[in-house]
Symmetry: C2
Amino acid sequence: MGSRSYGQYCGVTTAVELVGERWALLIVRDLLVGPRRYTDLKQGLPKIPTNILSARLKELQEGGVVRRIPLKSCGLVYDLTEYGRELEPIVVALGRWGFQAMGEPGIDDVVTADSLTIALRTAFQRDAAAALPPADYEVHVGDVALRVQVDGGELRIAQLAPPAPPVGGRMPDGVPELVFAAGPGIRRLISGELTPFAAIDDGVLQVLRGDETLLERFAATFHIEAGAAAPAAAA
Amino acid sequence: MGSRSYGQYCGVTTAVELVGERWALLIVRDLLVGPRRYTDLKQGLPKIPTNILSARLKELQEGGVVRRIPLKSCGLVYDLTEYGRELEPIVVALGRWGFQAMGEPGIDDVVTADSLTIALRTAFQRDAAAALPPADYEVHVGDVALRVQVDGGELRIAQLAPPAPPVGGRMPDGVPELVFAAGPGIRRLISGELTPFAAIDDGVLQVLRGDETLLERFAATFHIEAGAAAPAAAA
DNA sequence: CCGGATCCGAATCGATACTG
DNA sequence: CAGTATCGATTCGGATCCGG
């Protein structure tokens, strides 16, 4: 009964009926990084109730956004359909928009591997990167570790354990030129609020290995301009 | 407490906390067309409960997306902030994405002036239009009437009565070269599923005045490719 | 452990009525 | 015109439980 339809014949309306329910776009965000098992999604979305996760996955499948793939080696993954994958620029743009309104982290906010991966894609400055020499970073935020490789306009991000190597993921060889660790305060480096030097000085960030001047290159490569009006950062 | 937070420190998460609630993005969609009064919004969103509309407006203001402007001539409008206006490319992209999943209209789906305005912006092919001569259309869909002017890569859309001339809107002068009327089936013209000729033939569209060959130009100017996989059109 | 299904109280939504 | 108030219908959130 409860006709949940918005009652309009319109593309935007159709879109929000497909991916506008609570949690749906965050599931899509994580699947943009790669195929994920039910349990991976649950871990990447620590606060999602399991019934909601399974309901969303069902709806997203019915909407043609997500598909369920039985794995040869026993198991099961969810993946975006080709149609679902077309959401990538939209999710990235939303992330860029929302980034500007991020305040300080809530007391029990977490940074997950997938969300950080998308955040880096969001902040990636292709043109700036193309003009810079290739670089190879290892970034730690909380207990998430990412291998971030930039070569020309290309960006490659791999998630280091934990969690276990993602399905279909390929571990990069070689040694990163720069290894550093940060907390959520890394946001202030990406926003330009803090220079790399100031970030180290404030204890927001520590260089674990490598030449710390590479941080300048990192900051030039990953940046989100505080566009128009920096809103007062909602609660 | 029922902390409605998603518990993640992430731009995408922040964005959906700001505009991810039910109805919120549709309010933004309508405000992208121009400032609107409470009652305008209610008419443009016929199925929104009034308490939800006022709740969303309040939340959007707190989030720095919408602002409330007392009108000199007695009255009150809601408008997007500069930050809110940055959602335009995102809403347009979502509309383009959702367009591909639109099936046939539900029995009591409506097409509103604002949603059609955004739909045309969504479908606008700047490059194609720039290569074509200027054009001046009047489009009727249901009881919505739009004046659509294309000049080079520029698109201007004005809403003809009803409803009354929008606040701050300016009525175009002159006479449109082509006036036509359609139903929701206009979607099939924009998707390329129907040629202009076939659309007339099927009764999807009637030319009321002007040279019907201009419909070719209209179809070339407003088009949405059925990109990757045309999903099976959700219920 | 993986992939959910079930149950229940709390919060939100939807519809309508009403008010300054 | 611009909202509140109210109340039943849904949905969400949290926890537990179940079959492989």
